[in-house]
Amino acid sequence: MELSISNLKKILANSSSLGDDVLNFNDDVSITEQGVDSLDMLDYFLNLEEAYNVKIPDTDIEKVKTFAALFQYLKEKMDEVQNS
């Protein structure tokens, strides 16, 4: 799946109990502060790892609280893989 903020939201909408409400979330506000609970976030991170074939270590979780931060983080990770 192409990396875009819109697709990042779709992946969460497909797995979270909040469904399509996620599509209207603010890109720059913490995803959990917008109502996604800690267990849905675990599932989300696993779905992202599988969708984009990247590893998001526990130590990086704090860096990816918003969709904007997540997009940037995944972009850098995928660029690293492409350039290696």
């Binding site: 609970d37 267990l39 696993l46």
Partner: protein, 308 residues
């Protein structure tokens, strides 16, 4: 062929309410009911030890079925929280229940996968030694090692014990097993200085990634298709983990049992407690059981109704 004749359990009557602790752990009722799925955790009394719980499970078994203790040839206990390191707790149970001197006893150190591993061990042990009657105990009272202030574990784990009676005249025979271990991930669930520590994300990822693949391997090994299975009993870690396994497989959700709201995740006892409730339901031909956790390890099996 050795199989499961009867199962009995003992769940202590004392409960700690998760709802009453919701403010302490900054959570809410909806999360407790619909995500964790555990309203209360069962907690043993301070003066009850691991062997005491196991013995009470056996007393409950005696109320269900006539057992001649002189005929018990092996008694195994799955635990990682024994009475003490020495002697093995199965020997203490042996002494308290006055099993015969010819009865073999040993403990098995495994967590949430332990019941399924234990079934394989006792079946092989009995068949290779031509034994006719054996007992598989599970008892891992995590209240001994839980930090009551740790949200990751305190809301999940409950105390219980079970005993499974295996004979050559079983209600269910035991199919082919699958096993696995991801030792590199073992640090996700540890006990150091007598305190349990769990990385919830590590355990979640492990179960979500490995168990659906294992189920496919298990069905293939037993020459069955997913639609053939009447009931699925996954280790009852939390509602969320069981729901995740349903989502990641093509299992009919109505066939999957989750029933720990009143007592919690009882580690290696979680599967036999559920199994006890449906063991004599003649409508079920195949029951799939899958245990996973500490290690990180897993084991799965298909039980076959011998009378169907």
């Amino acid at each position: 062929m050795v199989g499961i004749k009867e199962i009995s359990s003992y769940i202590p009557s004392k409960r700690v309410s998760n709802i009453e602790r919701k403010e302490t752990f900054s959570t809410d009722e909806d999360f407790i009911l619909n995500k964790i799925g555990i309203v209360n955790v069962a907690v043993k009394e301070n003066n009850e030890n691991t062997s005491d719980l196991a013995i009470k499970a056996f007393r409950n078994l005696e109320k269900k079925i006539a057992i001649n203790k002189e005929e018990i040839e092996v008694a195994l206990l799955v635990t990682q929280n024994p009475d003490s390191n020495i002697p093995h707790t199965s020997a203490i149970i042996h002494g308290a229940l006055d099993f015969p001197e010819s009865c073999a006893c040993f403990d098995i150190s495994l967590g949430c996968s332990g019941f399924v591993y234990g079934l394989s061990i006792i079946k092989s042990f009995m068949e290779s030694n031509r034994m006719k009657k054996g007992l598989l105990f599970t008892c891992d009272p995590y209240s001994k090692i839980i930090d009551p202030a740790d949200k990751n574990t305190a809301l999940l784990f409950g105390d219980a014990a079970t005993v499974t009676y295996l004979t050559e005249d079983p209600a269910y025979t035991i199919g082919n097993f699958t096993f696995g271990t991801i030792g590199k991930e073992s640090s996700n669930l540890t006990c150091t200085n007598n305190v349990l520590s769990m990385n919830g994300r590590g355990i979640f990822n492990f179960a979500a990634k490995y168990i659906p693949v294992d189920l496919k391997n298990l069905l293939q090994k037993n020459h069955l298709e997913i639609k053939d299975i009447n009931k699925f009993i996954f280790h009852q870690g939390s509602k969320y983990i069981v729901d995740t396994l349903i989502k990641r497989t093509s299992i009919d959700a109505s066939k999957v049992i989750f029933d720990i709201a009143d007592y919690g995740n009882t580690v290696s006892s979680s599967i036999p407690i559920i199994l006890e409730k449906i063991l004599h339901n003649t409508n079920d031909k195949y029951i799939l059981i899958s245990g996973f956790g500490v290690g990180l390890s897993w084991s799965s099996n298909v039980l076959i109704n011998h009378k169907n």
